[in-house]
Amino acid sequence: MASTTTSKSKTALGAVVAIALGIAVVAGVGVELHAHSFLNAPTETATINGTITAPDGKSYPHAFITDGVFAAAADSKAHGNCENCDGGHPSWPSYGPYTKFILPAHAYVTVTLHVYDGGEKLNNPYFANVVGTIGGTMNVDGKDVASLAPDGVQHTFTIHGLPTETQDPLFVNIPLPKTGDGQQDEPGSPLPKGHTVTFSFITGGKGNYVWNCEYPCGDTTYQGFGAVMGSQGFMSGKVTVL
């Protein structure tokens, strides 16, 4: 059965169309996955306010970040304002309202976290130490501390990244003190009495880093690192130094 020239070119056209369709399907899947990759996390860009002289004698622009940690995602406002959080997990603890931070390079960054969750024991007591900050300390409600008791931690803010030749290393670990039992923040507020934790560190050059919490708050999962800990946008995020 010989093909005529017309049917040969029809076949070729059919092939091209079918192949283009196949490529379109795969590309479509890619677009979907990309869209569901939580790439537009609520982001805070540090505000720069004046300069400051660091203990090394040099002067840096002073950048500020403020964020919070809450026992329930609904309180964090990182996942929208709705009642059941739009398919999210309102009962999961969460940082908020921001989980992605943009910091200036070669700057003295001061971070203030308002934290409102209870806590227990860390899996790895190393993360009860303050690491990577100016002076190796953080300020908790007005007092400077260098570490917490490993069973007094509610969450940690731990910045780290891939060692790679295109960026400076950045490692910061901040253990956040747990709230006491039964104390209210303000009369009528659903939140327990929280703490204010402030710490500072100096950024290097441009780079991409991640942060995640090292406290096991994924209740009922193995070693507490499942559920909320293994999901995007609650207890982990990104730090970009520009």
Binding site: N123, F127, N129, V130, V131, N212, E214, Q223
Partner: protein, 267 residues
């Protein structure tokens, strides 16, 4: 059609090797064999030293050597196989109609099967002996160094490494080591399986929950090395990396003192 050597794969007794080799397909295959063997030898000698990172211990050197020399040793096998395949490929019958006649009816050739198997077994034994010897060297090195080994407790957590130097009384997030000092890594996990991999030091061992595993090496070159996690451990597995530095004893001691001065942990 006289085909007195039709079914000969090897020269028959009495036939000179020269006549066999002069047969066109044999000589072409032979040349192709030399070519492919050479390709694999060159690949082995050039590719791995180029691709693999800095060698900073005897163990790492041993690993690189194995990659290089196992390739070189396999080269003749690759050469023979590829040569025969290429020779037949060149002689292809093209077209929509089947070939007009069959090829030679060679069903088997006992000596070839035996020789092939024997060579296989020989290569296998060489590889085994090499491997066992290397393992024994590592063990005895480790044993020799164990008395004055620097102990580092390595803890893998989801998704960071932390290090504890019990003798020095400090903890850190980077793995600094003094040069030419045997080190014993005692590795454990705080949660799921991780794998402790100080890349340029050539050793690796998994981190398991509540079971300490051991890796030993002696860094013998100054410089920076990578510490990576080599076992998928969840969300930020890709970012579970940190750096290590092999430094002079003096530099190491001053690093330890600095850590002690800042509350016992490296800042």
């Amino acid at each position: 059609m006289a085909h007195h050597d039709d079914q000969d794969l090897l020269p028959t007794p009495g036939q000179r090797v020269g006549t066999f080799l002069k047969r066109k397909d044999v000589s072409q295959t032979f040349v192709l064999g030399i070519f492919f063997t050479a390709v694999f030898v060159v690949l082995g000698l050039w590719v791995y030293p180029h691709w693999m990172p800095n060698v900073m211990s005897k163990e790492m050197q041993g690993n690189e050597d194995i990659m290089i020399w196992f390739t070189v040793i396999s080269a003749p096998i690759a050469g023979v196989v590829l040569a025969i395949a290429m020779e037949s490929f060149i002689n292809m019958h093209r077209g929509d109609t089947p070939p007009p006649e069959d090829g030679p009816g060679i069903k088997t050739h006992g000596p070839v099967v035996v020789i092939w198997s024997a060579v296989s077994v020989l290569f296998t034994i060489v590889a085994i002996v090499w491997g066992i010897t290397e393992m024994n060297t590592w063990s005895s090195d480790a044993l020799a160094g164990s008395n004055n080994a620097l102990v580092v407790d390595v803890t893998g957590s989801q998704w960071n490494w932390s290090f504890n130097y019990p003798a020095q009384g400090i903890t850190s997030h980077e793995l600094n080591l003094p040069i030419n000092q045997p080190v014993e890594f005692r590795v454990i996990s705080a949660d799921v399986n991780h794998s402790f991999w100080p890349v340029q030091l050539g050793v690796k061992v998994d981190a398991n929950r509540l079971s300490t595993t051991i890796a030993r090496t002696t860094p013998d070159k100054l410089g920076v090395f990578d510490v990576k996690c080599a076992e998928l451990c969840g969300l930020n597995h890709a970012y579970m990396e940190t750096s290590g530095h092999v430094e002079s004893v003096a530099d190491f001691n001053s690093w330890v003192s600095q850590a002690k001065a800042t509350g016992g942990t490296q800042q």
